[in-house]
Symmetry: C2
Subunit: 464 residues, 2 copies
């Protein structure tokens, strides 16, 4: 199997680095993909990394560098002398180069920029104008541009030089003399058309483009909706600025999904580019502590409600048996509703205009879930609870006790489901990321509701 | 802006369908991408759909059909007569056709298969042998195959016929006479090489392939790790069976992320292919109810613990003020830890061998978070609580009360963080999906721990 041979090569590389065996290192490195080399490099200690950078071919290092996490970029580049740095930076794809320069210190950025060829420097500077998480920040400017007055033969001659530039031949774009995007040509049509065919004859219309300032998530949504290979990036005057390719989109999707999932669990701050195990305890701590603290302080409100209802709980302490259930059911239903709504938003399914439909759907669901859950718990209470012979004050039957529990459970579920759907929508309306109000925030909020609903229902129905 | 023009076309299409304006419908449909046409179709009512299928060009419908959710496939195909069905099924890409036939009733499947050309029928049947969520179930067999004894000119002649088959020219694979995969050729190298060049001269090695029986998630991970455009699918003897393309991977990633996110919120069952709003209340209910019910019954254990500690709570009812906080902090930290571990597993970062490292990391984090949270809450209790003049029994100072609360909070956080990390690892070890034991399950479990820890600490430290 091919996968096994990769694992063997990785092990051989690691062994060669550990024993400082140059020949073995070069042989194993030759066999491996740059993504695997980057993964190995990330896991080496300081001296081993020095051995790695001292012996790896300079031609292979740019691709490896582009795969490393942000925090490793500068210290890794500094292992090379200025000449080698110039070679490495010069060989990087221009979108990777711009990303890398955005991740290093200001001092290093100036120094690295000064090493670049004038045209590379200009392209890099113009890419760095865009935020890293916009279409412009993701695009490469290494796109094949031709004009509509050419023939197939002329285009092939122009493109021949680009043959090793991996990002440029999937689609070839036709621009006018001011750089406006006019159309596209596919390599296969160039290949199979007679040499004297005018480009206008095989040129296709470009329906779908994206503004450089648009959010990267929008680019990813367009890619998956329209099954695209390459997405052209334009400015507001329809000048072709660059392209986003499918590998950029895979990165965007992974980043955005991780970000959503983490935010939904109350994990704050930027998603780490490093793997879970390589992220330091300090970073993990800084990302988990803030929400934890805020939620803990908020949870004291739930305790305060409980304190206020001391007399209800003291009258029938058996109420404690169902208290955690009623409270927790709110967190669970609220969390489910929030997840469905947040995911639908992330996939671009919910326009702001559909708020009313969402409310109607979640309200119906909340009532349905509340009714069925309430009825189930009532049945359990009436038929099973008496077998344990628990203490109920005189005048309060199992049935009326079950009614109090079930009504509060049903109300709590309905209220929580609706809250779970509304909170992300509200967050979006005030320009917050919907994901930050997911499960933990909603759970804490509906915990407070749950306490109030439970004790109020008990007091009213049981006449305490 | 191009996006605006798409929105205008969509609105024109919807208006034309509503007013049954055939000419307007055809004009607007002409302008739109099949993904947009499918989205519009999904939102139409029954009569409008009939109008749509009666007038849309049969050549455009296969791509639209492939975008529709599973549940709509059969009823939509049944709107056409057998001749049109034959045209539509014949024009589908073979991986789409296999997917579609797996989504219809057994009766319809036989009928549709009988309409196919013999070679299409054979290809479809062989694809249907693989589960939908394996590499084999995702691949297309429409891949360009050549042999190594050809020249560039011969290859170009063979491929000329494939020019409109969108899935086949990204990579051209070289096989021997038994169909074993030998190498690949890129279209750009064919285009720019002299016609008499032997294929062996421009053939490149294929390092990375995937077994047809491998999970689709593995295919997606390889794509994003190795920045691939096309991933060849082979059997255990290295016969080339098909390819997975980048648009398949986008679908896989979206499906898997949605599935993870939903499972992590206690939503059960298959992820719906329909959008949130188009999924029925019944389906939503069926996916949310099961976990909700199980967790509610489990939560009664928490209540039981509370019932058993009645005397502790009755002695100092002020303990109720912090009870929800201590319990909830467990759910929150446990949820965070579980999320980090589950996501790291999904991204392929955690090998089964790294369990010990994960335990060490989460244990340190749990202790650190517990200590800092405990100290913060102790400070709040000692300096702020007395201002509200709450009742504490004689002989119990604010300091010793704060100590009891803080110690239980710290222990609860440490225990919950570790549980949150261990549960998904344990689930994977017994071949369960780690995502199902996320937030809701962990919260319910650590709620029970929290009650026990809190009341035990209070009883011991406060001498109740």
């Amino acid at each position: 199997m091919p996968e096994d041979s990769i694992i063997l090569d990785i092990e051989a590389l690691e062994a060669a680095v550990e024993s400082r065996n140059v020949e073995g290192f070069l042989k194993a490195a030759e066999e491996l993909h740059y993504a695997d080399l980057a993964a190995v490099f990330e896991n080496l200690d300081d001296e081993e990394r020095s051995f790695f950078t001292a012996h790896i071919s300079i031609d292979r290092f740019p691709e490896i560098l582009a795969e490393l996490p942000d925090t490793l970029i500068e210290e890794t580049l500094e292992r090379f002398d200025a000449k080698a740095q110039q070679d490495i930076l010069g060989q990087l794809l221009d979108d990777d180069r711009a990303d890398i320069l955005q991740d290093v210190s200001a001092e290093a950025r100036q120094r690295y920029l000064a090493l670049l060829q004038p045209e590379d420097m200009e392209a890099t500077r113009s890419l760095m104008r865009y935020d890293e998480d916009t279409a412009g920040g993701r695009m490469t400017t290494q796109v094949a541009r031709i004009t509509s007055d050419m023939t197939v033969k002329q285009v092939l001659e122009v493109l021949r030089d680009d043959i090793n530039s991996t990002e440029s031949l999937a689609r070839i774009y036709v621009v006018d003399d001011q750089g406006h995007l006019m159309g596209k040509v596919r390599l296969r049509h160039l290949t199979f058309s007679p040499w004297d065919t005018p480009i206008t004859e095989i040129m296709q219309e470009v329906d779908i483009t994206i503004l450089a300032t648009a959010d990267q998530e929008e680019a990813a949504q367009m890619f998956s909706k329209y099954d695209m290979t390459v997405l052209p990036v334009v400015d507001e005057f329809n000048h072709l600025l660059g392209i986003i390719t499918h590998d950029d989109v895979l990165e965007i999707l992974e980043e955005e999904s991780t970000e959503d999932i983490e935010k939904m669990s109350g994990i704050a701050g930027e998603t780490s580019e490093e793997t879970y195990l390589n992220t330091s305890i300090g970073t993990h701590f800084k990302r988990r502590f803030p929400w934890l603290f805020v939620l803990a302080v908020l949870a004291i409100s739930s305790g305060y409600v409980m304190l206020r209802f001391e007399h209800v709980l003291s009258s029938i302490f058996l109420l404690a048996l169902y208290l955690p259930m009623v409270v927790a059911a709110g967190g669970n239903t609220g969390g489910q509703a929030a997840t469905m709504v947040i995911r639908a938003m992330s996939l671009g399914e919910l326009e702001p205009g559909s708020t009313f439909k969402v409310i109607l759907k979640e309200l119906s669901l909340g009532l349905l879930l509340g009714l069925i859950m309430g009825a189930s718990i009532a049945a359990i209470t009436i038929f099973i609870l008496p077998a344990f012979n628990p203490q109920l004050p005189e005048g309060i039957s199992y049935t009326i006790f079950a009614l109090a529990v079930s009504v509060s459970l049903a109300v709590q579920i309905a209220v929580s489901t609706l809250s779970g759907a509304l909170l992300p929508i509200g967050a979006r309306a005030i320009k917050l990321d919907p994901a930050v109000v997911a499960a933990p925030a909603i759970t804490t909020l509906v915990d407070i509701f749950g306490m109030v609903i439970y004790f109020t229902a008990a007091r009213t129905i049981l006449g305490l």
